[in-house]
Symmetry: D4
Subunit: 255 residues, 8 copies
């Protein structure tokens, strides 16, 4: 349960749309769902604004499904990352209305109480077509968290005109997420073009001295553009959460 949902629940009681008994049931839920081998943190949404999310890598499909059921029982929607096809299948059995974003390896089910339409403007820019999976992981994570989010594909620095052609989109963003592998130069160039926060995501795209994305990561950490911050290699989910949090801060943007 995130803060917003709690507020709505209390307003529901005030307005008699929700019975005190129902509210009690939801509020009396234990803060931790203990599955024996896992401990689902039901307070996380309230505390951090992002409910517990399932990281599927290395978990067996039935474990993932078991955790999902526990989360869904508390009515917070569902997000599962690094989900392979087998994970997706197991989750769809538990949450038939969930969507599987195959390239992004995300399974998402909108949070029921979130209602409302997306706010703000997150712009995700990707350097190359090989960065697509990470770009989409950012995109769908941010959307799942309620942020209006758009993408600018394949605008790497070796053909600057592709990026410069979209200066309006850059200027309109509240937060830009720049995704790049290889030499990871895109966030530095973007950081020199905008005044909003920029989150950089290195990807493992590349070979040899790319060292699995370390070259791009180091490049981004050393950016000459002030105010760019960085997440782990291929961590589209983390960047999506950071962007959504920043985006959520903003009131209506003065034009």
């Amino acid at each position: 349960m995130v803060r917003e949902e709690l507020r709505r629940l209390l307003e529901g009681v005030r307005d008699a749309r929700v019975s005190p008994g129902e509210a009690l049931r939801r509020l009396a839920a234990p803060p931790v769902g203990d599955l024996g081998w896992a401990r689902v943190d039901h307070q996380r949404g309230l505390r951090c604004g992002v409910p517990e999310v399932i990281y599927c890598e290395g978990k067996e499909p039935r474990e993932v499904a078991r955790i999902a059921r526990e989360i869904l029982r508390h009515g917070e929607g569902l997000l599962a990352t690094r989900a392979g096809v087998v994970h997706a299948r197991a989750l769809r059995r538990v949450a038939p209305r969930a969507t599987y974003h195959r390239r992004a390896r995300l399974v998402a089910l909108a949070r029921p109480a979130r209602g409302a339409r997306p706010v703000g403007r997150v712009l995700v820019v990707g350097a190359g077509t090989s960065d697509l999976p990470v770009v989409e992981e950012v995109l769908y994570t941010a959307r799942w968290l309620g942020a209006r989010s758009e993408v600018l594909h394949d605008v790497g620095v070796a053909g600057l005109h592709r990026l410069l052609a979209h200066r309006d989109a850059l200027a309109a963003a509240r937060v830009v997420v720049a995704v790049a592998g290889k030499e990871g130069a895109l966030p530095s160039v973007v950081g020199g073009l905008v005044s909003c926060p920029v989150v950089a995501v290195p990807t493992s795209v590349g070979y040899g001295a790319s060292l699995g994305g370390l070259a791009a990561l180091l490049s981004m950490l050393n950016t000459c553009a002030a105010g760019v911050t960085v997440v782990n290699i291929d961590n589209g989910f983390g960047a999506g959460v950071a962007a959504a949090r920043i985006n959520a801060l903003a009131g209506p943007r003065p034009s």
Copy 2:
């Protein structure tokens, strides 16, 4: 000149507080101040919200002073980072009213047109007393950029009660900057307590396998707390800029 100053200049012309000639002079300034060996980017404030800042490390004091004079000639205030005592002395000759934050190694002169009082709430939390220089670099940078900013010193994770005693301050922040050396665990713990954006700054405090701060950096990049973003080791300036940008996005915060 940042966007806000440009708006004010134009309003000044409209309101006849500024003569068109004076406005012309300021707007007609070339976008780059060419010193032969340096090229001061006078558009940066307008473009990125942060005017050109002087990085003193490895520059000679007279070079630093020369660049400062060029910046001041365009009336944007002044910030110089990694400034040793000799740099500070040279800068004070050019900008006598500037302040030297010795521990933070910053020389700062408030931007004249910025006026107004600080907005939002940036909270800088530091893990140990050895992290003070970086903590203060974040603090004074954020303040220079107009952010209301406070500090929580010496709240490392080996004594959690020191941090947990300040949950209200954490909850009141629009953005938290968590600074830590050694194992760099503070941002992960902070990230689990708040719902606002968190910027993590690794410091080079430590020895041996700390590898000059790499251990803390890697730790922060791998944080289990979603949505934490990271800057370079000891990069208090970068974190201050990022925090100020995020903080500036926010309208009045609902209580």
Copy 3:
């Protein structure tokens, strides 16, 4: 043969429960079992308190079985680590009563002479569900060595309340083993909460800049909590032995 077993053997002779001939046979065993290509160290139990243990990785099942037979011939129980299904099957043929802990990849057969009930209190705390295999390797190793051992699953620092809810268990432990991947912050937080020895185990859980567990390892080595010691990445066996040795030192704990 560990020291305790030797003592019991000699007492058996004194009490006429064991014939001198039988004792002779066992004591006259050569200190090394030479298989041509392997040299089983039969003195290790006596010398180090831990009998020779089989590391299965990279060995063929029949080799593992051959070594197991040599160990069993000297009556010391059996422990085989990093055992895949094929290793387990081969070992079960040699030692039908042995247990295969699949997730922990351990094959264990209790040492016959060990008798007695487990002593002390080893507490294994794990940061996340992905750390389960290593957590269980610690657990079953420590139990095999005679230590009373319990587990606290999924108490990573991003949801501190999950850990803090178990302060009594932490206070009751003689030694805590803290297992974590990603940023590896758990041992630092645990180290700030207890006064008993803490052994930290980094896991290879993570991706990108986790560098196969190096990030967690470095984090733990640089912990700000004094007195935490560390073992190799994913080395649940080593941590289990260390914990059991420490645990074995303790007499009854004053409450």
Copy 4:
């Protein structure tokens, strides 16, 4: 205040050796000593068994002295690590009876209430004469924490007879701390000779591919001797605390 001291204080009240008022004063002390830029954790002794210790590296002598005064005001003795001559001089002004172990760079003042004589047996073994500073940091830290502690100098593996000549000392130890630089092989050899816990300390002694002690650190983490645990490079203090904690667990050792 460590647990033992608390017990003694309460017994003093019971036995009327301490007035309730005096006990009140000491117990009512705030858990944190807030110096503005530093937050001394007065609960640490009670919580972790080791009072707050001052890490001098990078602090100015007057800062170190200021923290020391705050610690001494709560009567817990004093330990300052990585203390240069100037730190020692400043500390001696605050605590004239403190001892400066120059090679170990420690300033130590025994905890007044600790009374009693040292218990157990910690054995510190050092590989070479260049490792002396770290060896002595372990030694004096363990002694300050109440552990009976001895040293075996210069017993590196290139002359095994030097170590093997002291098997009795090894057998008599409750915990062995093995300190080595270069290839760091000593803990592996020691680990094969004893059944008590072994703590390994890599030192930065070496050059070239020693990588500032990383070679020794990696060697120790990969030891083939089960149950050896490791601390950071040159971290004699951490090893001393770990050893003292383990040593404190033990009741009288059966011979």
Copy 5:
């Protein structure tokens, strides 16, 4: 003696401007000048187009002077790199007409027979003012080798307009040398703007995760702009030689 000089010598004999005896003296010089502890490679100019150059770092001034005298005796001009003030002074005693480029740490004396005016067009672009020493090392090396060479200072990617304003200079170059520290993005952007060869030089400018220039080096090796080649960190000399060699290949450039 480079190939061009050899040709000129032979033409001199043909045209009776040089006596056969004098030519004999120069051609009969041994291919190696043996100083006992050094072996000056007098064939290198002929073989590789670049005469032996003195690397001063770690050599004593009198050694440097001794080698210089040997080189000058064969009349090839002189270039000494990484020359400190003391080296420069010693070299000026041997070659009074040599120039000391202090920032570039080069001592240069034009090769007498080179005559002619510089050819081609080498353009050196530098990302920031801190990169000046390396930029100038490239510049003066290329000029010493006969290449017409110009510089574009301080055109880092955080202010793209500074670089884009000089597209004509880029288009006119036969080879571009791009020098950058920190994230090293400049060569990638330059590589996307030109069709001539681009040589990238990473510098050690930066801190923390810049790892002494490794971040910039890795960035450049992974550039998404095809056809960029890279030299060692801070290796302005190597880049200058490479650029001069490439530049020398070109005949008159079609406009």
Copy 6:
């Protein structure tokens, strides 16, 4: 479209070989081919001399084919690198006349307008038979770009006579590309034998401390032969482009 093709098109209009309408169609093509998820840079050939090339690794065959079709529609020939058999098959369906160089993993279709015969002389030297795939990637890339290119196989430094036997070929080259794995010494030896530019390509051939080619890469970056430049590990394509660009600069070489 590369510059040369543009010139030819305009000459075609002048000479009435191409109708203005046809020229219009080709020149009016948008600079970017937007496929939604990819943005083909149709200006690249004109700007950089090398048309957009498809990097197949990690792309699905149908994506590769889709991009190829977009490129072919603009008539620039086709080059696809890191193409597996399935990519090759998909590309052959789109471009039936393309050649698949299986060992080099290249799919190439000559640019129709390129006409003319190859110019200059690129010499590719390979250290061992295991380096063949990279050697051939250099070769066919350079040829596709119009460079006359030859190979010298298996001339590693452990048998110098194999290389020294081909000094004439070395002397005749305008640019040498030296490909080597393991210790990567070949470019240093070659660099000492020639006066033309040398491009070094490290390969991932080797094991253990070769670190996937890093050893060879570092070796080449530290070469004692001045003027050698380096590309990424296994980046035969990049070296081929660099060599072709350098080669293209040269007018007829004086003998």
Copy 7:
């Protein structure tokens, strides 16, 4: 052809056992066997004492067979390393009498002219059973080169008595090759026990911080035992050649 074989050939001519024609044929063989894509170095035996050996990794079986045929045509015996089963099968077709040492991945065919019985004494000591493949690669390589060679298996330092029991074998060796993974301590201990040359071979046995054998490699390079030299990780072949070369130097050893 190695030097010894050349001597024997010439003696054969002198003694009329070999016809001049036959000797001519063998001596007139070109120094390089050019296969187009490979260049077999037929002089290597004569020059270096070790004929060209085939490294199979990454080569196709038919390529390996093709090279083998070329080598065999010059009558030097055959050694192929890193040979998988398919390589072995292809080689056996060319050299039916060759032996395949499967664990060592070697295919060996004794050199016909070598005759004589093995000389000297190479002792290969291995730390653990997992090191067997490398131990055997050393053994069979040394034997193929004519060295009398024995093995001591599984004598790692965690059970020193296993090694110390074989001091006579150590004392009798002319050169010891010590093979170890994990912490790689064995060569340091061996180096302290013998006065003959010691060659150390790190293996990739281990996990986590073993970093694929780097930990063992660094350990060995930093050995405190003077005079130990090291080869690449898992390079049993290189160690075998080095040992055989050293062994071959020795005349009869004084007892």
Copy 8:
């Protein structure tokens, strides 16, 4: 005392040149000289052929002198490595006839009983003049151990003719030590020219991506020349010992 000296002592007794009492005194010396903080290994010479040698780095001059006195009291000559001027001065006070090789940082006093003239032939080849200190450390160490040793300076691979001119010296050597920094290619080239053992020594000469000598070290470990072995960076002493041991094995070399 090395084995040879022991033999000579016993022969002296047999021949009545040494009194039994004197022999008794020397043989009865304890195997370890215990200085409290240091343990001089008097058996090392006998066991390993090389007496204990003093490593001065990080030791105080008076400590070094104290150890030297203990060694000299046993009459084994003296070698001290990494000796600065102050160490040399302190040692000369204890051993006035010792020589200080300043560049090599060695203090050496010939072993009195060694008598005889140097044997065999060690050839030390150095790549550049900056490698001189390490080259001389190898040279004087080998000579101190009784090996006839010569040097070939400044024969790096960028000018191959310098090395190839000395093929006779290479052919005459029993062991070659190849010393090189930067790319470390020299041992690979030497290894392809000789049939005797080759020991490679990487030096820290270089900058940037030389990583303090790691590049040269990795290069040498990956050499394509079979049978080259390697020591630590700048470890001239270790290479000298290894070379002397190998050299000592050889009987008279057949020509």
